[in-house]
């Protein structure tokens, strides 16, 4: 089959690799119909996530048609399903309390030590996201093996086209959980850093949850415009002092909740961010946390800090004093996707949530490398890329 494989920093290629097979009883094999490039794939593309090996098939946001099932899979051939990017067994303590992204059994035993030594506990497995998270092949491919297929995948009714539901696999529940972790109350003013796909969905979710004002922060005009269309007010951080603006726009109180939808590769002119960029480039494992630092200073005393943005390593100059003295609550984590898929599917069906507005490009899988490059280099216009294995390379990409 054809699949997008990582070969090194800024080097991904569509290669011919063997088709996947059923290995365990609960497995299923999908023929991919649509798969997206996620903002967090860019951290792999930039080489700042450890444990990726040349030849690893990427892609954790995908859906497809069931073509083969193991003896204990509950799926049936021909069903169309969306697959959560977090792989969860459904039987462990964490799955039972719906902390699916902390599943204890999905990361193979021999791969758990890597993340356990970094974080104190092993990470659960994710599709196509380094050997820290299990080394599973991803879905930017013609076919994918889905373990625990009786737990994760959600069956999609025929009348919903792929683009309406594809993002149930990651960015939609991630944006939703980002807003939920901010504990949005009806009179809240909420600030969201980053108007990439997750930031946009966090904005949409916060508005659906009843926030009275949502303020979106970015520097790309087109992305700020998309946020505005959702009903947010906007700040261009290249032009405006963000903290001062947020104080004024929240009536001098400070925003009630902040959402960092940027993560470890934040832009920012602060000296320590420049140092962190240098450290990150030479592999010192430093995360660029300028957004998180700014958000902690901007949130009101007693406010809530939500971090859906991806961090991997360490940061220094962390505003610990502000965190403690202001009495802030911090919530974070990889998304517990399976907790949200059913409810969010209903909200898509009844029109409460729209997922299609941010798709800017649809490409054949063969053009995936170009998709990565443009999504990385031209973030203002390439807001979200969907790859279609069925689309022929000659077909006009939109």
């Amino acid at each position: 089959m054809r699949a997008l494989a990582w070969h090194g920093t800024h080097d991904v290629r569509v290669d011919t690799v063997p088709d996947p097979e059923i290995i365990n009883p609960r497995d299923a094999i999908l023929k991919i119909t649509s798969t997206a490039i996620c903002g967090s794939d860019l951290h792999l593309y930039d080489g700042v996530i450890p444990g990726v090996q040349p030849g690893d098939v990427l892609g954790h946001e995908f859906m497809g048609e069931v073509v083969e099932t193991g003896s204990d899979s509950t799926l049936e051939k021909g069903q169309r399903v969306v697959v959560p990017f977090t792989i969860s067994c459904g039987g462990c303590f964490h799955c039972k309390i719906q902390q699916y992204s902390a599943c204890e059994n999905s990361n193979p035993a021999e791969k758990q030590d890597m993340s356990a030594s970094l974080y104190g506990h092993p990470m659960a497995a994710l599709f196509g996201y380094s050997h820290l998270t299990g080394g599973y092949s991803g879905g930017q491919a013609e076919y994918v093996r889905v373990p625990f297929s009786d737990v994760g995948p959600i069956v999609i009714p025929d009348h919903l086209e792929d683009e309406k539901v594809l993002f149930l696999s990651d960015i939609l529940p991630t944006g939703w959980m980002g807003a939920e972790n901010a504990e949005i109350q009806p009179d809240d003013t909420v600030a969201v850093w980053g108007c990439g796909p997750v930031g946009l969905f966090a904005i949409q979710s916060a508005i659906v949850m009843g926030a009275s004002k949502v303020i979106a922060i970015d520097h790309y005009p087109n992305r700020l415009n998309l946020a505005k269309q959702l009903g947010a007010e906007t700040i261009d951080f290249r032009k405006t002092d963000v903290r001062e603006a947020l104080m004024e726009m929240s009536g001098g109180i400070g925003v009630d909740a902040v959402i960092d939808a940027v993560g470890m590769e934040a832009h920012g002119f602060a000296v320590d961010n420049m140092l962190d960029i240098a450290k990150q480039k030479i592999g010192m494992g430093a995360d660029r946390a300028s957004v998180l630092k700014q958000a902690i200073l901007a949130v009101r005393p007693g406010g809530r800090v939500s971090i859906p943005g991806v961090y991997g390593g360490m940061t220094d100059k962390f505003p610990l004093g502000a965190l403690m003295e202001k009495g802030l609550q911090v919530r974070s984590g990889q998304t517990h996707v399976q907790r949200y898929t059913k409810d969010l599917l209903e909200k898509i069906e009844d029109g409460t949530l729209d997922t299609t507005f941010l798709i800017s490009h649809r490409l054949p899988l063969e053009d995936a490398a170009r998709g990565y490059k443009c999504f990385h280099d031209e973030q203002d216009s390439w807001t979200k890329v969907v790859l279609k294995p069925d689309m022929s390379a000659g077909e006009k990409a939109t």
């Binding site: 690799v17 609960r26 059994n105 035993a109």
Partner: protein, 216 residues
């Protein structure tokens, strides 16, 4: 209840020490009795400079005590999750553990069960004529609420001296602590999910398949 459990493990370890009589063991015991002892299991003590022949690990498995005990008591099941154990077969009252060694060879360890308390503990040790001197014990204790069962594995091993001993030591468990940790996690996977997680893409990419390939 919990306290009794931990004393149980410490007691077993002390028992193993008597059997083994190793110097490192004595040092650890004296450290334990020197005061400053706490409720932590002995195998979590900061290790002295020399190799520590005891290893131990606890996992919580979301299944009842009796189910886990029954599965383990049927020793023939253990190779399903113990990666370097090819086979455990009955031979009269004893059991022969067939353990992988380098270059496709195997080491045979003859063991007998020395303690078997239903739904609580199973302990075994090697008997004369084995290539390796070893003891092991697994204990099962209720976890709070519906979290299942806390399963603790404590093992001691002492390969024979000399170059043969080194080869066997390497063979027995290249990295015993790592191996035991992985084995217990695979036990948990098998019990909680019915299968053992692998990120292999194809059947011939699984660890098991690759190992068999290496042995040929």
């Amino acid at each position: 209840m919990e306290k009794r459990q931990e004393i149980g493990i410490a007691g077993t370890v002390a028992g193993l020490a008597l059997v083994a009589g190793g110097a490192a063991f004595g040092a650890m015991l004296s450290r334990r009795h020197k005061g400053g002892s706490d409720d932590a299991p002995l195998f979590t003590r900061r290790k002295p400079g020399t190799d520590n022949p005891i290893l131990g690990r606890t996992v919580t498995i979301r299944k009842g005590r009796s189910e886990l005990y029954e599965f383990w008591r049927d020793f023939e099941n253990l190779p399903r999750f113990m990666e370097n154990v090819d086979e455990i077969r009955k031979d009269g009252d004893a059991r022969i553990w067939v353990i992988k060694a380098p270059a496709g060879q195997t080491v045979e360890v003859r063991t007998e069960v020395v303690s078997d308390v239903e739904n609580q503990t199973i302990a075994w040790r090697s008997v004369e004529g084995s290539d390796i001197e070893t003891n092991g014990e697994v204990t099962f204790a209720d976890a709070p609420g519906d979290r299942g069962t806390r399963v603790s594995l404590v093992m001691f091993y002492d390969p024979p001296a000399g170059s043969l001993g080194r080869v066997i030591a390497k063979a027995f468990q290249r990295e015993p602590e790592v191996q035991a940790r992985h084995d217990l996690k695979r036990f948990k996977m098998l019990m909680e999910t019915g299968e053992i997680a692998t990120s292999a893409h194809r059947k011939d990419n699984t660890r098991k398949a690759k190992q068999q390939e290496n042995e040929q």
